[in-house]
């Protein structure tokens, strides 16, 4: 059983839903990321999505675009991201870490090379925004062999037939993108999400986590009613941006936001 599966099973027993924060690795500088990850776990994170910065983050809104720019300007690389995970694992063996990013840096490193290094570092899952299952045949078997889950996206525009196909390729969890748009762009429609997650439950036993548009305790709680987990990104990255000049204040700011969500979700 993978670390992600274990975590969902454990939450299920406790009657809780997963709270999954996203931050961009290396934002504002590589040296701070591991500290942020530990702070997130202390504040109630069940898993962490760690963004791999890319020069052309096509699916991201302005907040996360800027985070990628700050991270790259500070010299972050994919190798560096893997080192961050390895450092995090020295003191935390329970919290799953999913790397989220775009395909090109991974393709450039080489799929087999990446899978091996990610396994060694203690990575649990990989979500590549621009890698639909049709193009993933070269990647998924290598990741599977390394014990790394491949997380795929489902969108509001995904047809039921296509969702079934995607679900058959997925492991770890499915990431349901709650809105048509880029990250951080709009407020979500809980009712529409509920209909879609119910539809997905008929198709697969893989947990369904929902992201895009979750910005506070109320929206996190609403989403966790109708799914297996809430993914929250832009609101946290905004905190990092606001405090980029005083990074020592960032962990407390991240914790405050996440605490509010944890409390609302568990209430």
């Amino acid at each position: 059983m993978s670390r992600i599966e274990q975590k969902f099973a454990q939450l299920n027993e406790q009657g809780k839903k997963a709270l999954i924060p996203y931050i961009t690795g290396g934002d504002p500088e590589p040296g701070y990321t591991v500290g942020f990850m530990h702070a997130l776990v202390e504040a109630g994170a069940d898993m962490i999505e760690l963004g791999i910065p890319f020069s052309d983050p096509m699916a991201d809104g302005e907040v996360i675009q800027k985070a990628h720019e700050r991270s790259l300007a500070a010299g972050t690389t994919l190798e560096g991201i893997l080192e961050m995970v390895a450092e995090f694992r020295q003191t935390n063996q329970d919290t799953p870490v999913v790397l989220m990013g775009y395909l090109n840096p991974i393709e450039y490193m080489g799929y087999a090379n990446f899978a091996q290094k990610a396994k060694t570092a203690g990575v649990d899952g990989l979500l590549t925004v621009d890698l639909p299952p049709e193009e993933a045949d070269d990647v998924v078997p290598l990741l599977k062999e390394a014990g790394i889950d491949t997380i795929f996206l489902i969108a509001p525009t995904t047809t039921p037939a296509r969702a079934a196909k995607i679900a058959s390729h997925a492991s770890g969890y499915l990431y349901y993108v709650s809105i048509k748009g880029v990250t951080g762009s709009a407020t979500l429609d809980t009712q529409a999400v509920a209909e879609k997650t119910a539809e997905l439950r008929q198709l697969t036993s893989v947990p369904v986590a929902v992201g895009f548009g979750i910005r506070d305790g109320a929206s996190a709680a609403a989403i966790s009613q109708v799914s297996d987990g809430a993914i929250v990104g832009s609101v946290l990255v905004n905190k990092i941006a606001a405090l980029a000049q005083t990074p020592e204040q960032i962990p407390a700011a991240l914790a405050e936001t996440l605490n509010e969500m944890r409390t609302a979700m568990d209430a």
Binding site: D56, E69, Y102, D130, P132, E134, T158
Partner: protein, 406 residues
């Protein structure tokens, strides 16, 4: 398998999933998958529909002004003393470049799918103008994304687009050029996918764009092939075209792919020189990767990050290239070469003075290489250079280099 068979088979690509060998494909976020499947189905249906083809041909004839001439540049050929140079005059099209061939086709697709809004990315502004033009004619809402740096370099085209009723968004992210404009157009599309048709301007992007943009521009090569046979009694010895994303080159090359005796040269932007690091030549100096929905040759660093490009011409200032070019390079069918800014400007001036034709700086890359190629050949041989656009939009750039404000 004989070589001729191999060449004929090149014309069968892409495969059903949009691949040209290892290149091409559909690397997009899930939200766009449905829109692309829908577009693929629509295009498959309409491209086999004689009514759609007839409407396309009619627009090309009466709105664009096709066929464009194949002009024998006799004086220039004589001066160079080598092969006879023929110019395929895409600069004479309505809106001044080959770009309109594609926007006419895609606007018809937008019309048939009932989308009220079109968006496009643009570099030099030619594709933006061509999109704004067809949008005006069909009464479609139109938004153009253009890098802030290109907005500055191509002020004339920005104003043209505004006159045509388009909203022009200056993109301030990344390197503020064509690639960033394409990122922003993708973000718009993913947000407004129900109402919006994305008119991609080059033979790149996710399947089926590389295929349909090539097909719409193939009218260039079909005409040139026929004109060459009619005017000279034979096929040319070589074809030359500039390559940024590569749509004018693909349009010229594609109908000749099976003609084994016709050599092909795609000319990338060498900027300050291929060894200077300041260029836009992914086929000459890049390596394969994934960007903007397809796998192709890219300019990237040791971490797989896309690096900034440089070219005197905004239209070639792009770190990727159409996936079919990537395949044709590996297959050895097309030779990919590059021309430096300095030789490009010299070719721009030379054609203007010798033939009275002012070429776009993009097309001047093809002229710069074509000039050298012609000189290495004999006067009884002939080459076709694709004069993909006219140079009016570049007057400010050239004047600026001359230290003149116009």
């Amino acid at each position: 398998m004989t070589k001729a068979n191999t060449y004929a088979e090149l014309m069968q690509l892409p495969d059903d999933r949009g691949h040209f060998g290892p290149y091409g494909g559909r690397f997009v976020s899930e939200t766009l998958s449905y829109a692309l499947e829908e577009l693929e189905a629509t295009y498959k249906k309409l491209s086999a529909d004689p009514d759609f083809q007839a409407e396309f041909d009619k627009d090309l004839a009466h709105y664009v002004g096709r066929p464009s001439p194949l002009y024998h540049a006799e004086r220039w050929s004589r001066m160079l003393g080598g092969a006879q140079i023929y110019l395929k005059r895409e600069d004479l099209n309505h809106t001044g470049a080959h770009k309109v061939n594609n926007t006419i086709g895609q606007a018809l697709l937008a019309k048939y799918t009932g989308k009220p809004r079109v968006i496009a990315e643009t570099g030099a502004g030619q594709h933006g103008v061509a999109t704004a033009t067809v949008a005006a004619r069909l009464g479609l809402e139109c938004e153009i994304y253009m890098g802030a740096e290109d907005v500055r370099r191509q002020a004339l085209n920005v104003y043209r687009m505004k006159l045509l009723g388009a909203k022009v968004n200056a993109v301030e992210s990344g390197s503020r050029t064509l690639k960033d404009a394409m990122n922003e157009a993708m973000r718009d599309w993913v947000t407004n996918v129900d109402s919006t048709f994305y008119i991609i301007g080059t033979v790149a992007g996710p399947h089926p764009y590389p295929q349909l943009v090539r097909d719409f521009n193939s009218v260039i090569g079909r005409e040139a092939r026929e004109q060459s046979l009619t005017q000279t009694g034979r096929l040319p010895d070589a074809l030359v075209a500039c390559v940024g994303g590569g749509s004018n080159a693909m349009g010229l090359f594609y109908p000749f792919l099976a003609d084994e005796a016709v050599a092909m040269y795609g000319v990338e932007a060498a900027g300050d020189g291929l060894d200077s690091g300041r260029h836009a030549a992914p086929l000459c100096k890049g390596s394969p990767g994934v960007l903007h929905g397809n796998r192709t040759y890219l300019m990237q660093n040791h971490d797989g990050q896309i690096i900034e490009t440089h070219s005197v011409s905004a239209g070639l200032d792009y770190p990727g290239v159409g996936p079919e070019h990537a395949y044709l390079k590996d297959a050895g069918r097309v030779n990919y070469v590059a021309a430096e800014d300095e030789e490009v400007l010299s070719a721009f001036r030379e054609l203007t003075r010798v033939e009275g034709i002012m070429p776009a700086l993009e097309s001047s890359h093809a002229l710069a290489y074509g000039r050298k190629l012609a000189q290495s050949m004999s006067p009884d041989q002939q080459i076709i250079i694709n004069l993909s656009g006219r140079g009016d939009k570049d007057i400010h750039t050239v004047a600026g280099i001359d230290g003149i404000t116009v």
